[in-house]
């Protein structure tokens, strides 16, 4: 009996000693995304993009010049350790988000987390990672106060609502300077947390910029008819309409506007529905000139972004979109920090994240860089404005990143 338990002890000890040696070869990162429920399409696409990111880090891709960790296979400062992704489905539910975060941290022993698409889940899940002292990099949730709650373990690479609100107003300011009429705007937003929080920021930024908001129209994203809203816009007749919409509603708005023969000088879509892979096939021909925000541009053949897009397209059959691209960038930033930390200890990873200072040439997204302030927000986050010309969005603003000439007013369905 005693011999047996002693044997057990020895085995356990051996296992315990063996564990860290094994751990050095792989680094496990937890992904927390909605893979069922109404945001599943976006969640799935983000996970696929991060898988491409893991391929870039884990295998040698010398063709991607300047992107950290692309040239080498694995994480050089951790002895070539490979990154393993551990994917969990939070179903868009904050409570499930918390328990899955806990599972990833305590059961699967992930060293860092990425997520979470929906802002409400990001709120809840980061509270758990904070308690356990595990870095959580938010790649794509935009609600303002995910950072700024005094949390020490939350980092966010993506621009947030106030950032792109400011970008839109700067753009409109430029238009006014160029003699185009852009004095009044209307904001049409879906009424869940995404649309509401973005609309709030837009109104604040418009006030600062001295642009008049003639109407704000919140609506329910699963509406099957938006005639009334379009007629309201028609009556108020703003110069520019900004839509904060999900997919089916964005498509429906475009169709309804054509049916009711209403077209403002310019429409700006706030990413999301306007970036959904089904948007252009569905209404591309009648939505010519629609603008959209995107920190992602496929770029010219031979560029890093073009090659990354090719990798994503090979895997999924479609082009990379902005939302998934922002998640992928968050992953690359995290991988770079883990490598610089030279360790999988959460504290060292956090210190490395704090010290992050990436230049635009090292990024796939169009941020001005990645550098976190003390709340964990990336202060160099920015976005391009792109315009639908033909069958794709082309960067048109700011002018230094533009690849195509802005068409103002938009053409819509008119030839």
């Amino acid at each position: 009996m005693e011999k047996k338990s002693c044997f057990l002890c020895v085995t356990l000890l051996a296992l315990a000693l063996a564990a860290p040696a094994h751990a050095a070869k792989t680094v496990k990162i937890g992904l927390l995304y909605p893979l069922s429920g109404n945001a599943a399409a976006a969640g799935k696409s983000a996970v696929q993009a991060i898988e491409v990111g893991a391929d870039i880090v884990n295998n040698a891709h010398p063709e991607l010049k300047g992107i950290p960790l692309a040239a080498t296979a694995g994480l050089p400062r951790l002895g070539g350790a490979k990154i393993v992704l551990d994917v969990a489905d939070h179903q868009g539910n904050p409570s499930i988000g918390q328990s899955q975060t806990l599972r990833l941290i305590t059961q699967d022993k992930v060293v860092a987390l990425l997520g979470a698409y929906q802002s409400n889940v990001a709120f809840a899940a980061t509270a758990v990672s904070e308690r356990y002292g595990i870095p959580f990099v938010v790649g794509d949730s935009v609600a303002a106060n995910i950072t700024g709650r005094g949390f020490k373990w939350v980092f966010r690479t993506t621009p947030i609502a106030s950032d792109f609100g400011r970008n839109y107003m700067e753009f409109l300011g430029d238009m006014k300077k160029a003699g185009r009429k852009a004095d009044t705007i209307a904001i049409v937003n879906e009424n869940t947390d995404y649309g509401t929080s973005v609309a709030q920021s837009l109104i604040e930024q418009a006030k600062k910029a001295g642009i008049k908001v003639v109407a704000q129209i919140p609506y329910n994203a699963n509406s099957t008819d938006v005639t009334a809203q379009v007629l309201q816009l028609k009556a108020k007749n703003p110069d520019v309409v900004i839509f904060v919409s999900y997919t089916s509603d964005a498509i429906l708005y475009m169709k309804t506007m054509k049916n009711l023969d209403y077209m403002p000088s310019m429409i700006i879509g706030d990413d999301s529905g306007f970036s959904d892979p089904s948007f252009i096939p569905a209404v591309g021909p009648i939505a010519q000139g629609v603008m959209n925000r995107s920190a992602w541009a496929i770029g010219k053949p031979g560029s890093n972004t073009y090659k990354i897009n090719a990798m994503f397209k090979k895997k999924t059959g479609r082009d990379l979109d902005d939302t998934s691209g922002r998640s992928m960038e968050a992953f690359l930033v995290l991988a770079d920090a883990i490598n610089r930390a030279g360790s999988t200890a959460p504290k060292k990873i956090r210190a490395a994240l704090r010290a992050t200072d990436l230049k635009p040439s090292q990024l796939m997204m169009g941020y001005h860089g990645v550098k976190f302030d003390k709340t964990g927000q990336n202060i160099l986050a920015a976005t391009y404005l792109v315009q639908l010309q033909g069958k794709e969005y082309k960067a048109v603003w700011p002018s230094k990143s533009a690849v195509a000439k802005l068409e103002w007013p938009m053409k819509g369905w008119k030839k």
Partner: protein, 285 residues
Amino acid sequence: MILLQVIAAGLLLGAVYALFSSGLALIWGMMNFINFAHGEFVMAGMYVAFLAVVWLKAGPAGFTLAAACGLFILGVVIYFALIREVLRGPMLAQILSTFGLALFLRYAAFFIFSPNFVTLPQTALTGTVDLDGIYLSVPQLVAGAVALILTLALHLLLSRTQLGSRLLAVAEDREAAMLMGIRPDRMQALAWGLSAASAGIAGALIALSFPFSPEVGGSFVIIAFVVVALGGFGSVPGAMIAGLIIGLIESLSAYWFGPVYKDVVVYGLFVALLWLRPQGLLGTQ
């Protein structure tokens, strides 16, 4: 002029509501049973239409027919596999069974078709009709008209044909119908088939102008409840008129109070109705 436009849009939408709601009313009237998966039948109709377009290159008439047939079969199968047994059980089991069915259908579509949004390819039905300043899109016009005709047809089928009177006989008194030589099982299966088919056709018609994903059904089922409650539970002509009214109310309240309050108005009306006139606005005691 704007008001007329809003009214027209509301009536066209209401006609489609009337079609799928009349299916729910039929089931309710015959079996005293509410189907929480009715919205998922609408969704399934959209995907059947989608498959018909992709595989058979079907046109609007073809894919609507395909949705009708596909959903009729689904309805009958579900009746025999699940509902027949559950009808004899307690009310809790009845409610649970169609909740389970709704989840199952929704995520089966999710599994097969992925969570992405789908739009039907451009069909021959495009363009707008300009009625003296009121713009109506052809797909919506066709959808509204077809829905209205089919709802009427369902009503006539129930009220004017022998088949209809057999169906109603089972609804009135199961035992007596059996003594008359009607097989209630068959009639109830038929009712489920018709109910699902009405939802399926409505789905195909909505898909003419609306992008859809597996999650789309949830928003239709509560509309159907409201319509059925307004029209008087179990009344097909009631559902038809109530569908038009609800479409109109949605459209007008979205215009007057803002789109966010359109659902508040509709649900508020529903609650008030259940409290004040549980037999429905158009029903009799």
